[in-house]
Point group: C2
Chain length 476, copies 2
C-alpha cells in the first residue's frame, strides 16, 4: 500500500522522535485495512471469475494471474497465526537488539527458536513441493528453489572461493579514502551522479537517512536516501549508485499500471539486479572512473592530491575478507550470503539447533573467509533479518548480483559501444535498454522468463565469475 | 484520518512535482476507506448501544456523544450526492483558477451557481432549525448559528467600522519592513520564537511551504510550515506565531485520547482562537516587542538601523484598509469576513444571484473599506473557498479572533503579572493556562461551554473591541 510507504519514508527522514509510538499505530491501522481488503471473499470471487474470462488481453490476464497468486498466498494465513507471529517477531526483535548490544547470543536464543518454529509452520501453511524453505523463498523470489540456489552456491564454493584466495591479499594503499571529504560536496556529487544515470528529479528526490533506501509511491514519485560519512568516501558513492539503480527500475514502470501487478517489480532478486548492475558492473568499472575521477579530484583537491586514477580505481575495488556483510566487497559478499543461506536451510531441516549457531557461524567464517570471529555481535548477531522473521530473504542479494552480471553481458552484446559510452558518462542507451527489457514489463514475466528473454538462458553463475575474473585479473 | 494528513503534509513540502496526479488517487483511496469505516452500519449499531451504557465515565460518554454526532452527519449523505458534489467542486475549482487568472468572473459563474445549489441541498440533507446556513456552519463550528454571527457582525458594523475610521489614515513610516532580510536569519529567528512559545521540536518540526499551515498526525507529531519573503519581514513573523499557536493546541491534546473525539480540537473557531491569541494578543503587543526587538535589531543591523522600538511596533500594527483579506491588519480583517458572510447568507436565501456578486462585492468594499475594487481577481475571485464548496467556513476566522480577545482578557485576570512575563519573554504560565483550560479537554465541552467555563459568559464582541480601543488609542 503506497500510503504506508509515505509514512515509512517520513519515519526514516523527517519524523520527530516523539512521534515513533503513534506512527507505529498508524502504520498498523493501514496494514490492517490493507489486509482486510486483500483477503476479502469478494475480491477472491471477482478474481476467480476474471481468471476464466477469455476476452482479457495478455496484460490483463497477467494481472489476474499475479493478483490471484497474492490472494491465494494471503488467504492461507489464519488471523490468529498472523497475530501470534507478529507478536513473536516483536519480541525477537527486542531480544536481538539486547543480545547484540550485550554481545550475548543467549539473550536471543529462545526467541529465535520460536521464530524458526513459526517459519516451519508458515511453510506448511503455504505449501511446497520439495523443501519447506521453497515456500519462504517464494515470497521474495517467486519461483526460486533451494535446489536452484544450492547449484549457484556450489559454483560460488567451487570457483569464487579459490579465485578470491588467488587475488588476496589485495595490493593497494586505500588509506586516502578515509581522509576528509566535506559533506556538502559529497552531496552535490551524488546528485550529479543520479542525474547522469537518468534518475528523474521531477519524479523523485534524495534525502538523508541512517540506512539508505529507495521507496516508491508511484512511478511518478520514487525517492532515494543516502548517508554521508565525511571520513569515508565509499558510503555515499556506493549507496547513491545502488539506490539510483533501484530507483530507475521504479521510475521505469508504466504509470498506467499503477496499483496493478503489471506496475510492480518482478522480484527482490530482479530489483537487486538493477541496483547491482549500476553499482558493480557500471559503477565499479575503470571506464566509469575515467569519466568521474577527474571531477572528484576537482571537488576534493586536498584529499585526492597525488592519487592516480588506477590507485583510486583499485581502492574502490579492494577485495578483503571481512566480518561484516554490509561492508563486504563485491566478491566476498557472496560468502556471507552463502553462509546465511546454508544456516537457514539447516535450521529448517533441523540439522542444527539454534543454540549451536554461534559455533557453526564461526567455523563457516573461518572456512570461507579465513577469519576468526571475535564476538557474537560481529558474528551471528550482526544482521536484523532473522529477528524480523525474514528467512529466505538473504539469497536474493546474491541472486541479484548474478542476474546483474548476466544482464550486463547481454547489454554489452546488444548495445554497440556501451563501454565507450560509460567512459564518456553517457548512460542513456543502457538505461533505455534496461527500461525496455525489464522495467516496463512489471510482473508480466517471471524472473526466469525475463532472464531467458533477455539473455537466452536461465540464471547461472558463469557470467558473474567471468566478470570477476576478467576485472580482477586485469587489475593485478 | 491521520495517515492522509501525512500525505498532505508531504504534498505541500517535499513531494516532487510529477507525483501530483497519483498522490491525488492515493488520498482519494484513503478517503474512501475512511468514509466506508465511518459510515458502516456496524459502527452505528455499536455507538447506539454505548450511548445507553450507564457505566461509562464522563469522558467516555463525551466520546460516544461526539462520535454519534459525526456518524449521524456522515450517514446523511447519499453516496451519489457525495460523488456528484465532489465532481462539481473539482470543476468549480478549475473554473475559479481560470477565472482568477483571466480576471473574468463569467468563467466561474455557472460553476459557482452549481455549488450554491449543492450547498442548499446539503443543508436540507443535514437539516436545521432556523436557517439553511446553520447546517453548513455547524460542520466547522458546531453549535454556531446565523443569528449568533449576525449579532457579532452587527457589533463589528456599529463599533469597529467607526473606530477604524477614527484611527486612519494611520501615521507610520513602515517602508523599512520591505528592506532586505536574509532568509536564513529569518528562519533562525522563527525557530527561536517557536521554542520560546514552548512548541516542542521533539514532537514536531518546521518546514517551508507556499502557504503556511499546521498539521497534526498525533499530539506527538505536530508540524508547522512557514513562508519566508526576504523583502517583507511580516510574512515569516506572523505566520510563525500564528501557526505556533495552532500547534500548541495540537501538542497540548492528551496523547491517551489519540483517535478519539477527546483527542480532537473543539471547532475551527476555537482552533483559530489559539493562533490569534498568540498572534494578536501576545505577538502584536508592545511588551512582546520590548523583548524581541533588540534581538531583531541585532540580527538585521543594516535594515533596522535607526528604527526605534515604537516605530517598529507601529509598523507591525499598521491599520490600513486593503483589498486582499490575507494581507489585512487585525482590525479591518473582520470587514472582509463580514462581507463574505453576508454574501454567503444572501446566496442561500436567494436574495442575490451569482451573476450579481461582482457588483455586490464591489459596493460592500466601497461601503466598509472605502476602496474601489479594480478587478475581479482582486475582488470577488480572490479566495479559493467557494470553489471548494466551503460555505460557512469564513466566519470561524472572525469568531477565532473574538474568542482570543475574550480568553486573553480572562488570562490577564487569572495569571498575575502576565504582561510582565510577556515583556521578559516568559510564556510558560500562559501556555500552561491555555493547555489546562482548553487543550487537554479535546471535544469534552462545546465551544460555548468552554467559553463560559473560562470567561464566565458566552462569546461576545466586547473584549475584542476593548482590546482594539485600548491598544490603538495608546498608540496614537
Amino acid at each position: 500500500m503506497y500510503s504506508s510507504a509515505v509514512l515509512q519514508w517520513d519515519q526514516e527522514t523527517y519524523m520527530p522522535p516523539a512521534s515513533a509510538d503513534l506512527r507505529g499505530r498508524q502504520l498498523a491501522t493501514l496494514a490492517g485495512y490493507a489486509h482486510e481488503l486483500n483477503t476479502s471473499a469478494e475480491l477472491g470471487k471477482l478474481l476467480q471469475e476474471l481468471k476464466n474470462d477469455a476476452s482479457l488481453t495478455d496484460q490483463q490476464k497477467a494481472n489476474i494471474r499475479e493478483s490471484l497468486r497474492d490472494y491465494d498466498m494471503r488467504t492461507k494465513y489464519p488471523a490468529q497465526f498472523v497475530e501470534d507471529m507478529s507478536l513473536a517477531i516483536s519480541k525477537a526483535f527486542n531480544a536481538w537488539q539486547q543480545a547484540k548490544k550485550q554481545n550475548d547470543f543467549k539473550l536471543f536464543e529462545k526467541e529465535l527458536e520460536v521464530i524458526v518454529d513459526f517459519k516451519l509452520r508458515e511453510a506448511e501453511l503455504l505449501g511446497y513441493n520439495d523443501h519447506p524453505y521453497d515456500a519462504l523463498l517464494d515470497q521474495y523470489e517467486p519461483g526460486a528453489t533451494v535446489a536452484q540456489i544450492r547449484t549457484l552456491f556450489a559454483d560460488v564454493k567451487d570457483q569464487l572461493v579459490d579465485f578470491v584466495k588467488s587475488i588476496t591479499p589485495f595490493q593497494v594503499d586505500s588509506a586516502f579514502m578515509s581522509r576528509h571529504y566535506p559533506a556538502q560536496k559529497q552531496w552535490d556529487f551524488g546528485i550529479q551522479v543520479l542525474k547522469d544515470m537518468g534518475y528523474d528529479f521531477n519524479a523523485g528526490r534524495q534525502d538523508k537517512s541512517s540506512h539508505p533506501f529507495t521507496t516508491s509511491f508511484s512511478p511518478h514519485d520514487v525517492r532515494v536516501t543516502t548517508r554521508i560519512n565525511e571520513n569515508d568516501l565509499h558510503e555515499m558513492i556506493w549507496s547513491t549508485i545502488h539506490e539510483g539503480g533501484h530507483a530507475l527500475y521504479e521510475q521505469g514502470i508504466m504509470a498506467e499500471n499503477y496499483g496493478l501487478p503489471m506496475g510492480e517489480a518482478v522480484s527482490l532478486g530482479i530489483h537487486e539486479s538493477q541496483s547491482r548492475l549500476w553499482e558493480n558492473n557500471v559503477g565499479r568499472s575503470l571506464n566509469y572512473w575515467k569519466h568521474y575521477y577527474p571531477q572528484l579530484q576537482h571537488l576534493f583537491p586536498e584529499s585526492l592530491k597525488g592519487i592516480e586514477l588506477m590507485q583510486f580505481y583499485k581502492a574502490m575495488n579492494e577485495v578483503k575478507p571481512s566480518l561484516i556483510r554490509t561492508n563486504a566487497d563485491e566478491l566476498t559478499y557472496h560468502f556471507h550470503i552463502m553462509i546465511r543461506f546454508g544456516i537457514e536451510v539447516m535450521l529448517l531441516e533441523k540439522k542444527v539447533k539454534v543454540a549451536e549457531l554461534p559455533e557453526l557461524w564461526n567455523s563457516l567464517y573461518k572456512q570461507y573467509l579465513g577469519l576468526d570471529v571475535p564476538s557474537a555481535s560481529q558474528g551471528v548477531l550482526q544482521d536484523v533479518h532473522w529477528s524480523h522473521g525474514s528467512f529466505g530473504y538473504f539469497p536474493t542479494y546474491s541472486i541479484g548480483s548474478f542476474y546483474a552480471a548476466q544482464f550486463f553481458a547481454a547489454a554489452q552484446k546488444q548495445i554497440p559501444g556501451l563501454d565507450n559510452q560509460i567512459e564518456s558518462g553517457q548512460y542513456a542507451q543502457l538505461r533505455e535498454w534496461l527500461r525496455n527489457t525489464i522495467h516496463v514489463h512489471g510482473k508480466h514475466y517471471s524472473a526466469d522468463e525475463l532472464c531467458r528473454r533477455i539473455t537466452g538462458e536461465s540464471l547461472n553463475f558463469t557470467y558473474f565469475m567471468d566478470y570477476a575474473k576478467q576485472k580482477y585479473t586485469a587489475m593485478k
